[in-house]
């Protein structure tokens, strides 16, 4: 591999470019801010003859998801992108895609959910569909998002589960960063052509029925199998990350599931997902100069949730603050709830929930400093940090 193949690309364009290299057979999507540039780019790539995928225009996100469901059921690689209201409109189909064990890959350009209507970034959309059976991975940088897409296809196709890659809307989709798009040959080495399972796909020469009925005597076993395979995805992600490192010379976080940042000797550990991790790392560096021992645990894999890795990372912390760009009304941040569940009986120190950046409110270094300062004193429970 050449030492430096980096280009300065907009996040959305980088995603479109890597999807072009991954070569799905069918793409369907409905444009929605801030996902628009991804699908515009893919349409342009198709129109200019740079790729030969089918691009099927849909009348809604429900239709787009249904189109990739059907296409995937015929045993081809598919791609879709959406966010916010569009993702929620897809909800019913997302459950079907997962329930039918179709390896669809979807990009979510994370955006707030109405009402009030708001087109800017938070993560309320994706966390709201966390129980659909879609695996969810969150990127911090555009390079990580590009890499996650490559890994996501390999993951989805190896365990027959859909994967959603999350990138913060605008903060990442509309931001130019140095990104390396791996060469097609390199991607093909890691991610060979999709070979669908024989005899269960839709094929006119061997007709089968899709979306059939499962009565109470079978439904539960089918759901349990889905659960078991989603949980087993943890070890599969680790394995695929090792292979990724061999081929591309980069790792996704520490092991594909999480990334530790200066937590070995940290008293205060913040936990977060997505682009906000970059800001947190900067603040940690500055505070370390002032002898404040803070660290970050970045969660890449939100579904499946890496309980064991998280417990290990948080074991020595004295104070834990979880930063969410989403909220479950009447409880707390959704990542915070999950961290508490994973740590139940294992971690004794209090875990506090901080809500930041809803509806595109900039998350500043000042806010992160405030959280690190206050995590010791604040009462348990939920804290909004808006200034």
């Amino acid at each position: 591999m050449k030492k430096n193949n980096k280009q300065i690309l907009e996040g959305s364009h980088a995603v479109a470019e890597v999807i072009k290299q991954i070569k799905p057979a069918v793409i369907s999507a409905y444009p929605i801010t801030p996902q628009t540039h991804i699908v515009e780019d893919l349409e342009r790539i198709k129109a200019e003859g740079e790729a030969d995928f089918e691009y099927i225009r849909a009348e809604s996100e429900f239709a787009a998801a249904s189109i990739v469901l059907g296409a995937s059921a015929t045993g081809v690689r598919t791609y879709c992108a959406t966010c916010s209201q569009g993702l929620l409109l897809m909800t019913e189909v997302l459950f079907n895609i997962a329930g039918l064990r179709l390896p669809v890959v979807i990009t979510c350009a994370n955006r707030a959910v109405s009402s009030p209507i708001n087109i800017w970034n938070d993560q309320q959309d994706s966390v709201t569909v966390r129980d659909s059976g879609l695996l969810q991975l969150y990127g911090e940088t555009n390079q990580e998002v590009v890499d996650l897409h490559i890994l996501a296809y390999k993951l989805a196709e190896s365990i027959l589960l859909p994967v959603m890659i999350n990138m913060d809307g605008f903060v990442m989709t509309h931001t130019y960063e140095p990104v390396e798009i791996p060469a097609e040959t390199l991607i093909k080495k890691y991610l060979p052509n999709y070979v669908p399972p024989k005899d269960i796909i839709l094929d006119v020469n061997n007709p089968r029925s899709l979306g059939t009925f499962a009565a109470p005597d079978r439904y539960m076993e089918i759901r349990q199998e889905l659960f078991d395979d989603a949980a087993a995805a943890l070890s599969q992600i680790k394995k695929l990350n090792l292979e990724f490192k061999k081929v591309f010379g980069r790792s996704l976080g520490d092991n594909g599931l999480i990334e530790e940042y200066k937590i070995k000797d940290a008293d205060i550990i913040l936990v977060a997902m997505g682009s906000v991790c970059g800001t947190i790392k900067d603040v940690i560096d500055e505070l370390r100069a002032k002898k404040i021992k803070a660290g970050l645990l970045k969660v890449i894999s939100f579904r499946p949730f890496p309980d064991e890795e998280i417990i290990k990372s948080l074991a020595k912390a004295k104070y834990i603050g979880v930063i969410d760009k989403s909220i479950s009304m009447g409880t707390e941040g959704i990542l915070a709830s999950d961290i508490k569940r994973a740590c139940y009986g294992k971690i004794k120190v209090p875990i506090k929930s901080f809500i930041v950046g809803l509806g595109g409110r900039d998350v500043t270094k000042k806010m992160i400093e405030k959280i690190i300062k206050e995590v010791k004193d604040k009462k348990n429970g939920l804290h909004f940090v808006g200034q």
């Binding site: 365990i159 269960i200 029925s209 059939t212 199998e225 395979d229």
Partner: protein, 93 residues
Amino acid sequence: MKKLKNILTAKPGTTAENLTGGWRTYKPVVDHEICIGCDMCNKVCPEGVCFSTGLKNSKGRVYYDRDLDYCKGCGLCVKHCPVKAIRLVEDYK
């Protein structure tokens, strides 16, 4: 290659194996002597289980009957029969 324990696509034609008549509580019984063969029951049946037997009753009228393998006992045919030739009776299993 991942192999699923539960296969989620079905072979075609499984409806012929999985009878749905067991879902009903009441079954329609046609009085062949009253039936005038007007085909109304067939027109309103949501399951398409009303059919002409091709046989004639004592009045020389072709009479209808039901495919009880698939009849769900909704009673629409009873409601619409112009000569009240059909009644619903409890279906004991």
